[in-house]
């Protein structure tokens, strides 16, 4: 089958396709030929709802300080960004990246009719459908259906796969290490089961489907285990969970994996109680880890081809609660990191605290517009197959 045919056959039009024709083929489908100069996206999800206002502080805004008598960060403690904004003091290394022109900060990103449940709001960010709709596929999964040939085109560094990476035809792969999956399938028994199936004529029913999935998994697992040849980073990463995950992503990229999307979660941002301690610790970890990650990509000459997206499912209420924390809010700040950004710096004005939506930051930019731009301008692909809504370019990537 020609590539163009393959793409036609695997778009969303083919919903319900049971048989996947390229299933048993080799892994050369994407045609990357071991060349790592293709574009990659690294998504970092701040789970639990990061408080954007204590990440980038509106240092001249009285409303902010009035509504946050306990947890507000005073101007002199922040790292100056411009006359009205300052970074949370723990973002020292992040600020270095910012000063180097590697960061775009996009304010008030959200979606219409926001939902304050973690679960629902995260679903909405993952599926990129309207907030009153549901979908079993994620935006990256749909991208994979349309443009990628195998599960390891998208890797999540985790035990379980996020909805984002679920497609109609195939799902991304969740792994902790490049070799654990392969080792588990290399047990002599499974190896024999797989070998037997590989030489067999598999039917198209569910039995065949199970074997095909197993063979495909084995191919991906084998590819990852054998291709992973950069086992050390030239930069020290923090020993935190996020640091280790990003250290791994860096190794994978340097090893030349033909993976287009890496997905990493940084958990624990649900700061209802004693927010300062909790959030500062997580943000410092983020700042230090992302700095190490960018440095290591730079040294490997890979920063050019890598875009890093950081988001959280919602921001938090402007007014602090009675436990020195904040409750679930709405729109939030999103970061893009890379050295090909069109508008590094603060992309749009800081949230308008005079015009709140029921006590929350209201959204100015639909997050799907950011996805749209990543698909059309970073990956240079057609977004219609992935995002149903039409958007104009924001001019960010």
């Amino acid at each position: 089958m020609k590539r163009s045919e393959f793409i036609r056959n695997t778009t969303l039009g083919a919903i319900g396709t049971v048989f996947i024709p390229e299933f048993l083929r080799g892994m050369d489908l994407v045609g990357l030929n071991g060349n790592s100069s293709f574009k990659k996206l690294v998504v970092i999800q701040l789970s639990g709802g990061n408080d954007g206002l204590n990440t980038i502080v509106p240092i001249e805004n009285d409303i902010y300080y009035n509504l946050r008598p306990k947890i507000g960060i005073s101007k002199r403690d922040t790292i100056k960004v411009n006359d009205t904004l300052g970074f949370n003091p723990v973002l020292e290394k992040f600020n270095t990246l910012y000063q180097d022109g590697l960061v775009s900060i996009i304010n008030s990103v959200g979606y219409p009719n926001p939902n304050r449940s973690h679960f629902r709001s995260m679903d909405i960010w993952h599926t990129a459908v309207d907030s009153n709709k549901h979908s079993k596929t994620g935006w990256l999964g749909r991208f994979m259906d349309a443009y990628c040939g195998n599960s390891h085109s998208m890797l999540e560094i985790d035990n379980q796969l996020s909805l984002s990476l679920h497609g109609q035809i195939r799902n991304g792969l969740a792994i902790q290490n490049s070799d654990t999956l392969y080792k588990s399938l290399r047990a002599p028994y499974f190896r024999q089961v797989i070998e037997t199936a590989q030489s067999a004529d598999l039917n198209e029913d569910n039995q065949g489907y199970l074997y095909k999935t197993l063979i495909q998994t084995n191919q991906s697992a084998k590819y990852l285990a054998e291709t992973h040849n950069v086992k050390n980073n030239r930069v020290d990463f923090p020993k935190s969970r996020l640091g280790r995950k990003l250290g791994k992503v860096s190794q994978f990229i340097q090893s030349g994996f033909n993976t287009q999307v890496y997905y990493v979660s940084h958990n624990g941002f649900d700061s209802h109680v004693n927010q300062r301690n909790l959030q500062d610790r997580l943000l410092k970890d983020y700042s230090d880890s992302i700095y190490a990650f960018v440095e290591s990509l730079k040294k490997a000459g890979e920063l050019e081809n890598t875009l890093i997206l950081t988001f959280s499912e919602f921001g938090r209420r402007v007014k602090e609660n009675g436990s020195s924390g904040t409750d679930h809010g709405k729109a939030n700040t999103l970061f893009l990191i890379g050295n090909n950004l069109k508008t590094p710096g603060i992309y749009n004005e800081a949230p308008d605290l005079l015009q709140l939506d029921d006590g929350d930051v209201s959204y100015k930019i639909d997050f799907r517009n950011v996805y749209h731009d990543i698909i059309t301008e970073w990956f240079e692909k057609d977004a219609r197959k992935i995002i149903s809504k039409r958007f104009d370019s924001l001019g960010i990537v």
Binding site: V18, S47, G48, G49, S117, H118, F119, R120, M122, D123, H134, K136, S151, D158, N159, Q160, L161, S162, L163, R170, N171, L173, A174, L181, S184, L185, Y189, F190, Q192, V193, T196, A197, S199, A200, L202, N203, D205, N206, Q207, Y209, L210, Y211, T213, L214, Q216, T217, S220, S265, N267, G268, F269, D270, G322, S323
Partner: protein, 449 residues
């Protein structure tokens, strides 16, 4: 009835059989078996909540209260698991699971969870009308689909829409957007009290005339349900769902037409419908044998029944459910859980193949599940690291006693194995019976029923 049919029958209307059960059940008809079954409600001990007034609690006490409530939901979940594993009323238990799949309601309040599951249990093989009304009036559903917020002045269409789309007619099938708006008005004022009792708030109820499916009248919620049930499309939609769940993921329209007639003409008698399925020759056709991929619950319960698997701690059950993406009372969204092939991808397949051997040899499972988002998005920080033995107990003696004299390929795969697997097995040497069993249930075929 011959073994092949019995095994297939109770793979679908049960969680699989052991050899003694095959022998026993081949002596009686499905109808008799179903007749002999009883409804088993689930009950929890709520005495530790007695006398608590939520409104008077401090922030901290409220958090404690919620934590305790969450643990109770876990208890209820495990109680249900254990009942599916140990109950002799396997048809009832399978129907309960199906109806929770059909009414995919997310429940965080243990009291409402008990009420919801028992609403299903008491009607699972009875009248679909009664079942639908009981579920619609349950506190869990009223909370989940915002019927509570559905007021005369500010109608909330959530329940009305899902009632048509997911529970009775199917998306855009014989109803319009206008019907949804009108139906919402009929359910205004539907509410529940703190302990879950249903009531209609007369001040929120819309007494005006409504026009539904072209008919005008002073309809209330139950009238709407009758108007919907009058449509044969509703019987067809339910039959399609039952067919894909119990017979074959691929629809056969002739069979659906046959079932729709039976269901509709029996006034939505669920027992009549499923008995008809089990008495149809086509149900036992080769194309239906082992044609379905087990859902995670079917997989875990079937395995546990076979080996008498138990755990004195609730957490390992929850870990497994979460690992495989099917937690009772916690479907991913209103549309419900995955079905059939959707369960299997590169991530789940290797885990599915390995879990039976991990449990039955007490190996370590090194796994960390994603945080439980609704309840505690931060929990992944410290808890949920599961790098230890799951601690399940199992009973090999029981397994061998119950399965004396049966060929294990018949027991596990109903003798339907592909040529390559047959070849593969022919060449294998097993050092022990146990090894043979573990190897068989580690084959992809074990994921099928």
């Amino acid at each position: 009835m011959e073994n092949k049919k019995i095994i297939h029958l109770y793979n679908r209307f049960g969680f699989g059989l052991n050899a003694s059960e095959i022998k026993e059940l081949s002596k009686i008809s499905f109808k008799k078996k179903l007749h002999a079954e009883t409804v088993q409600e689930l009950q929890l001990d709520f005495s530790s909540f007695r006398g608590m007034d939520f409104k008077k609690l401090s922030m901290k006490e409220r958090m404690e209260f919620r934590k305790k409530a969450r643990r109770k939901v876990t208890d209820l979940n495990v109680l249900w698991m254990e009942q599916m594993i140990s109950s002799e009323n396997m048809v009832q238990e399978k129907m309960n699971l199906f109806w929770h799949h059909h009414f995919a309601c997310i429940i965080q309040n243990p009291l409402y969870g008990v009420q919801f599951t028992n609403a299903i249990r008491n009607n699972a093989t009875g009248s679909f009308r009664e079942l639908l009304i009981a579920v619609s009036k349950s506190a869990a559903m009223i909370d989940f689909l915002h019927t509570k917020q559905n007021k005369k002045k500010h109608p909330n269409e959530d329940f009305a829409r899902e009632l048509c789309e997911l529970y009775t007619l199917g998306r855009d099938h014989e109803y319009t957007e206008f019907d949804v708006q009108q139906i919402a008005r009929c359910f205004t004022g539907w509410n529940h009290r703190f302990l879950g009792e249903f009531f209609i708030n007369p001040r929120q109820y819309d007494y005006g005339a409504k026009t539904i499916f072209g008919e005008t009248g002073n309809f209330d919620g139950e009238d709407v349900i009758d108007l919907i049930l009058k449509k044969k499309a509703c019987a067809q939609f339910i039959c399609e769902n039952i067919y894909t769940y119990f017979v074959n993921p691929k629809i056969n329209t002739a069979h659906i037409d046959e079932l729709t007639d039976v269901f509709y003409n029996s006034e939505y008698n669920i027992k009549r419908l499923i008995v008809h399925i089990t008495e149809a020759d086509w149900f036992y056709a080769e194309e239906n044998i082992l044609a379905k991929i087990k859902s995670p619950i079917e997989f875990l319960v079937g395995l546990s029944r076979q080996f008498n698997i138990a755990n004195d701690k609730p957490l390992p059950w929850i870990i497994l459910q979460r690992l495989f993406d099917q937690t009772l009372f916690k479907p991913p969204n209103v549309k419900g859980w995955k079905v059939d092939q959707e369960w299997i991808d590169s991530n789940s397949i290797s885990m599915r193949l390995r879990i039976p051997s991990i449990i039955l040899t007490n190996l370590e499972l090194n796994i960390q599940t994603k945080p439980d988002y609704d309840n505690n998005p931060n929990e992944g920080m410290k808890r949920n690291r599961f790098s230890e033995k799951l601690g399940f107990t199992y009973d090999w003696d029981y397994f061998f006693e119950q399965n004396e004299g049966i060929d294990f390929k018949e027991l596990f795969f109903n003798n339907k194995i592909s040529p390559q697997v047959a070849n593969f097995l022919r060449d294998r040497q097993f050092r022990s019976k146990k090894e043979e069993v573990i190897q068989l249930i580690s084959l992809p075929e074990y994921q099928l029923i």
